[in-house]
């Protein structure tokens, strides 16, 4: 293990690895990623794989518009097929009031170049053939939204980062961050000390623990782990439920075919504030999610569930992540608290943080003020990011 590094990133999920990759690409030598388990194991591998620009505020729409452009090129860039597909997101309205809300959101999204449009249920049925159209009035459809394989993305970022000389230490928990006179001196791990002046907290649900290591208050960025679950069915023929299909009024329930094997991933809003060791799937979840999934796609009643798992939405009070520099400690950065959106935001956020570290600014259209990690202690909250689940 290295005893000194230019940058130490704590957290080997998609965000930490994206930052590492982009630092490597910018020519930073001696980047180390510390992962307490194996890469992707915290939240990335547990996510539902969706990528969307259908948000309801300027900052998130702009960032995600940019991110989708990044996703489109990412397989080529990483020289690894990450299975990105622009299969769209289809939100379904169950009432006239909701249709009005959809229209308002679509207008905002269109303003920033996201081509969402309101579609009829006939058109929705063409996009998702086994859809139960009867309960819905209209859909909000952005064909540019999509999905990618969390496994291949993590692997692709890690592989390319290593080619740039990044060292990834798995099963190596950080245990302390040494700070003297508001300057970072190093990171203590279970396998020894790494001297460094720059640390990125990319630990998402575990980020408060990392902040505490640096001497900050645990709730400096108040991120809380909410257990979310998913079930996945046996594979079915591709092309049936390709978009993420979600009636938000039905407890944020959604279905989406896995881009790799065609299995149907089903989620719902049932969540539980929990502790960081609790990823135990529950029976009430599977009952709840299948109730909604078979209402959205009735023919799913013929399909067997083969898997159920849990992971965390690392939620901040306004469901927007904390991204940027932490002013109390020189060389300390954070990109955490993604509240369920870390996977879809990873390419652009990684690029932005890497550029911030190296150049002090970034060309990524990321609104630093919006995501400012200091906003919570100032008592400023953003409008809540539009969240499924």
């Amino acid at each position: 293990m290295k005893s000194r590094a230019e940058v130490v990133i704590i957290g080997g999920g998609v965000i930490g690895l994206s930052i590492a990759y982009h630092l490597g690409k910018l020519g930073v030598e001696d980047v180390v990623v510390l992962e307490k388990n194996y890469i992707g194991s915290g939240s990335t591998f547990r996510c539902a794989s969706g990528i969307r620009a259908q948000f309801t505020d300027e900052a998130n729409i702009k960032l995600q518009k940019y991110n989708i452009e990044r996703w489109k090129r990412l397989s080529d860039e990483l020289e690894h097929d990450i299975n990105f597909k622009q299969s769209g997101y289809l939100f379904l309205a169950t009432s006239e009031e909701e249709v009005e809300v959809f229209k308002k959101n679509i207008k905002l999204q269109n303003k920033f170049g996201v081509p969402t449009r309101l579609i009829s249920m006939d058109e929705a049925k063409e996009i998702v053939p086994p859809l139960n159209t009867e309960p819905f009035l209209a859909g909000a459809w952005n064909p540019e939204d999509g999905k990618a394989s969390p496994f291949h993305v993590v692997y692709g970022f890690a592989k390319k980062a290593k080619e740039f000389g990044v060292e990834i230490y798995e099963y190596t928990p950080a245990v302390d961050i040494i700070v003297e006179n508001c300057e970072i001196k190093g990171v203590k791990t279970e396998r020894g000390m790494i001297k460094t002046e720059t640390v990125v907290n990319a630990a998402n649900a575990w980020a408060p623990v990392v902040n505490e290591m640096a001497g900050l208050k645990r709730d400096f960025v108040p991120i809380k782990p909410y257990k979310h679950q998913l079930v996945k069915t046996e594979p079915i023929a591709e092309g049936q439920i390709e978009p993420l299909t979600c009636p938000p009024a039905w407890n944020d329930s959604y279905v989406i075919q896995d881009g790799e094997d065609g299995g149907v991933i089903c989620g719902t809003g049932l969540e539980k504030l929990t502790h960081l060791d609790d990823v135990q799937p529950t029976y009430d979840f599977i009952r709840e999610v299948l109730k909604w999934a078979t209402k959205i796609i009735p023919a799913l009643k013929y399909v067997h569930v083969v898997r159920q798992w849990a992971g965390f939405y690392a939620k901040t009070p306004d469901k927007n992540p904390a991204i940027g520099k932490i002013n109390y400690i020189d060389g300390f950065y954070i990109a955490a608290g993604f509240s369920g959106h870390g996977f879809m935001m990873a390419p652009g956020v990684g690029e932005a943080i890497a550029e911030l570290i190296v150049k002090g600014k970034s060309k990524v259209p990321l609104d630093w003020d919006w995501y400012d990690p200091h906003r919570f202690e100032r008592g400023e909250l953003r409008s809540a990011a539009f969240q499924i689940g």
């Binding site: 029976y283 078979t294 009643k301």
Partner: protein, 483 residues
């Protein structure tokens, strides 16, 4: 014509004419096929000469039976329009429509949403998952120790793998020495059925095991459609084992069967697995299988064994040799050949580094390759609920950490039989007895008198494992038993 060819009419030990239910008709891709009530879909198909049950979705390679007890995915077919049904544990019904799958299924575009009902709820003191030798003994003893027992099994009959064991057991008289496995299954089933405090659920798969407040919840699905919530104060997992596969070219061809699947075909349902068989593995399972095949009138061409010595009991090996079946030690299977199913097997001698020696290849003209290469414990439910797991090769793979009374690292969850570590039916029965009593003691229905019974069973286990064949198991047990 094929129908008569594959059905066994005469057998020295078993009488299938008596056992078979009412004759009905099922439809395989539109073609009517004769079947008997009480048999599983795949048995009826096999009896009609249908061995190719489907095709893999990506490379469209033919798929046939492998485990025949619902543990693998080799026999999935579309039944009455429902894809991916395990045809090896689903019983035939008159008029049933069975289709092979070639591609991933397509959903019908217009279907009525299902009515969402509350699940059926069943409560007891102890829920036992698995009705094989371990589960049956656990049920009998837990019931006698005062517990209300719920016993479930995903197969259509009780007895687990005993229902296909035509050989006589060893051991002591109280361990059914000299009695055939099939008979032991009957005796244990009778004992279970005459106890009023045991409720039995067959064709019921346990799909989830959870801690639910102070209780344990076992989520079950009966006959592929009915959801049942089983609740109890304790759970005993006696889910048995799964046949191991070894890598060789063509190992997915229909006709490459697990040894247990062949026993299920011929000993449980009276269907000939094929005409000429090569057996891989000369442990007790391989040796006994050879004898049973010969009893069913099937030609056993050879047994190959990679180890330099025969693994099974000498008496079994001697019997096989007397019947003229060559046992080739230090040999392995190189490949299975055939277009849609096994037509030939190529074997070769191996050197001390386990590499095949060129020039030693032998070709056997067989239509069945039986793999008797060991078992691994079925620990899925125990793993899912969060029991501590350890890899112990002596016990067949991943097993749970447990104490000497078969309780896992989760209080109130017990394990017994092959799912606790691969051994045999005799030890499974003893472990089942211990687990059943220990569970009853823990939930407070049994008096402390019952401790003596546990000690007795533990002593019998020690004695049984004291022989040379128990040495490996004892090494393994040392690694998983904690106090």
């Amino acid at each position: 014509m094929l129908v008569k060819l594959m059905r066994l009419t005469e057998h020295p030990i078993l009488n299938f004419q008596e056992k078979r239910g009412r004759k009905i008709t099922i439809y395989f891709e539109g073609q009517p096929i004769e079947a008997y009530e009480g048999e599983t879909i795949v048995m009826a198909l096999h009896a009609a000469g249908i061995r190719v049950l489907g095709y893999s979705v990506h490379k469209h390679r033919p798929r046939g039976l492998f485990c025949a007890i619902g543990k693998c995915a080799s026999c999935l077919m579309t039944v009455n329009g429902i894809p991916n049904v395990r045809t090896c544990i689903t019983l035939v019904e008159d008029g049933m429509k069975i289709e092979r799958q070639k591609d991933k299924p397509k959903l019908p575009p217009t279907v009525k949403p299902p009515k969402f009902k509350e699940a059926k709820k069943v409560s007891g003191d102890i829920v036992i998952i698995g009705g094989g030798p371990a589960g049956l003994m656990a049920a009998i003893n837990a019931a006698d120790a005062g517990a209300k027992v719920i016993l479930l099994d995903e197969n259509p009959m009780l007895g687990g793998q005993l229902v296909k064991q035509t050989h006589k057991f060893f051991g002591k008289r109280e361990q059914f020495a000299g009695v055939r496995g099939v008979k032991i299954a009957e005796i244990l089933e009778e004992e279970v059925r005459k106890r009023e405090n045991i409720e039995i659920f067959l064709e019921t798969s346990a799909i989830m095991l959870l801690q639910d407040g102070d209780e344990k919840l076992v989520v079950g699905v009966r006959k592929n459609k009915e959801l049942i919530e089983f609740r109890g104060k304790a759970v005993i997992v006696a889910t048995g084992a799964m046949e191991k596969m070894i890598p060789f070219e063509g190992n997915d061809l229909p006709g490459v069967y697990g040894a247990g699947a062949i026993q299920t075909l011929m000993n449980t349902y009276g269907v000939k697995p094929g005409d000429r068989v090569l057996i891989v593995g000369a442990g007790n399972v391989g040796l006994i299988l050879a004898y049973q095949l010969i009893q069913a009138g099937v030609d056993v061409k050879a047994i190959v064994e990679a180890m330099p010595k025969i693994g099974g009991y000498f008496v079994h090996a001697a019997k096989i040799r007397r019947l003229g079946v060559p046992i080739l030690t230090r040999h392995t299977i190189l490949r299975a050949e055939g277009k849609e199913k096994v037509e030939r097997a190529v074997v070769a001698q191996i050197d001390e580094k386990w590499r095949s020696i060129p020039g030693t290849e032998k070709v056997f003209d067989v239509d069945v390759i039986a793999l008797a290469v060991g078992l691994r414990p079925s620990i899925e439910l125990l793993h899912q609920v969060g029991c501590q797991i350890k890899y112990v090769p002596e016990l067949g793979g991943h097993v749970v950490i447990r104490d000497s009374r078969m309780e896992t690292t989760i209080k109130g969850i017990f394990v017994a039989g092959d799912s606790a570590g691969i051994e045999e039916a005799t030890t499974a029965m003893l472990e089942g007895k211990i687990a059943g009593i220990a569970a009853a003691l823990e939930i407070g229905t049994a008096s402390s008198e019952w401790f003596k019974e546990i000690e007795k069973a533990q002593k019998e286990l020690d004695e049984f494992r004291a022989g040379p064949f128990g040495r490996k198991v004892l090494e393994g047990i040392k690694k998983v038993v904690v106090e």
